[in-house]
Amino acid sequence: MEPPLPAAALLLPLLLVPLALLARRRRGRRTPPLRLLVVAGSGGHTTEILRLLSCLSESYSPRHYVFADSDEMSEAKIRSFEQKRAETFSSSQFTLDRIPRSREVRQSWTSSVVTTLYSILYSLPLTYKLKPDLILCNGPGTCVPVCISALLLGLLGIKRAIIVYVESICRVETLSLSGKILYYFSDYFIVQWPDLKEKYPKSVYLGRIV
């Protein structure tokens, strides 16, 4: 029997080209402005992520904020942050969107899986609409379904977003549940304490950044 070499030789570039293109798009330079999707949510997470945003230039614009629908504090915090920002950058733009919360604190694993799947379904049209270049998140449960829906858009070739995860300052020795999952799916995974950098070699340590 003839070895299937010609077929493989034909198929190989067909496989490699899109992969290489994906890899190039993955970490390539981009032209500003970048559409930024920010996953805010629950308590300290929003405060922390707004601090991260405070030093970003207007190259990261517009900022699309997504947060859990059970979160009552975040919207006010974001609005006041953006109001201040608009004083410096007059053409500053942002949007706010709510999605169902994927996991309440202390919710059981099995029901978490169901609610997370529901959140992913709900997030898909939203990420499709927003088509972010960059997703920034720091650990509220809501960030997992948002990032997974963005990864799905990438796999479908619709839009490949770069995911940057910043673990909360609270996490000194262990990662949050969202962190443990997104360690494998983020492009850049930033931790704020040296112990975590040692345990998770792929992570980036820039010191305390909030």
């Binding site: 500003p32 970048l34 030093c55 190259s59 609270c170 000194v172 820039l206 950044i209």
Partner: protein
């Protein structure tokens, strides 16, 4: 007027409020020259059990939109282990005692409180050792806490995207 501000954040931590309001704790605070005690009690019981004539003026409230003013006025802050409360207090340069809640299991907030204690920025204790801590603490040994540097995050991202 030297004052102490106690904060439990958005949760309730009645054990902490009760311990701070115990005759022993109030006595130590008075001995240390504090004259006023302000309590932010969150979802806990609003009226702490006080004996008839406490040696300090005691005020209590549940929540405020911002605790910045209370923190600014305080000479000593006693806080639950919530990251937000701890970091906000340290940024204002106020001496801080973090009281951990033994009743919360697997509480990840403890990681931060213990690290801040190891680095000498706060005194960390629990309700049963609070009075002892108030007695023995030397606030001058606390190390200042330098603010975080979000600009490093911004320059990291700028490098990633080639904006620099």
């Amino acid at each position: 007027m030297k004052s102490v501000f106690v904060t439990v954040g958005t949760t309730s931590f009645d054990d902490l409020i009760a311990t701070v309001c115990s005759p022993a704790a109030l006595q130590v605070l008075q001995n240390r020259g504090y004259e006023k005690l302000v309590l932010q009690v969150g979802r806990g019981a609003l009226k702490p059990a006080l004996h008839s004539s406490p040696p300090l003026a005691v005020e209590a409230f549940r929540f405020k939109d911002s605790l910045a003013e209370d923190l600014r006025r305080a000479d000593l802050v006693i806080s639950h282990a919530g990251a937000g409360s701890c970091l906000e207090t340290l940024e204002k340069g106020k001496p801080l005692i973090v009281v951990t809640n033994e009743k919360l299991m697997n509480n990840h907030q403890l990681e931060l409180a213990k690290q801040l204690d190891r680095d000498g920025h706060v005194f960390c204790c629990n309700c049963s050792t609070l009075v002892e801590t108030l007695q023995s603490m030397d606030l001058s040994t606390l190390k200042p806490f330098s603010p975080g540097q979000p600009e490093k995050f911004a320059s990291f991202l700028d490098k990633v995207f080639g904006f620099q």
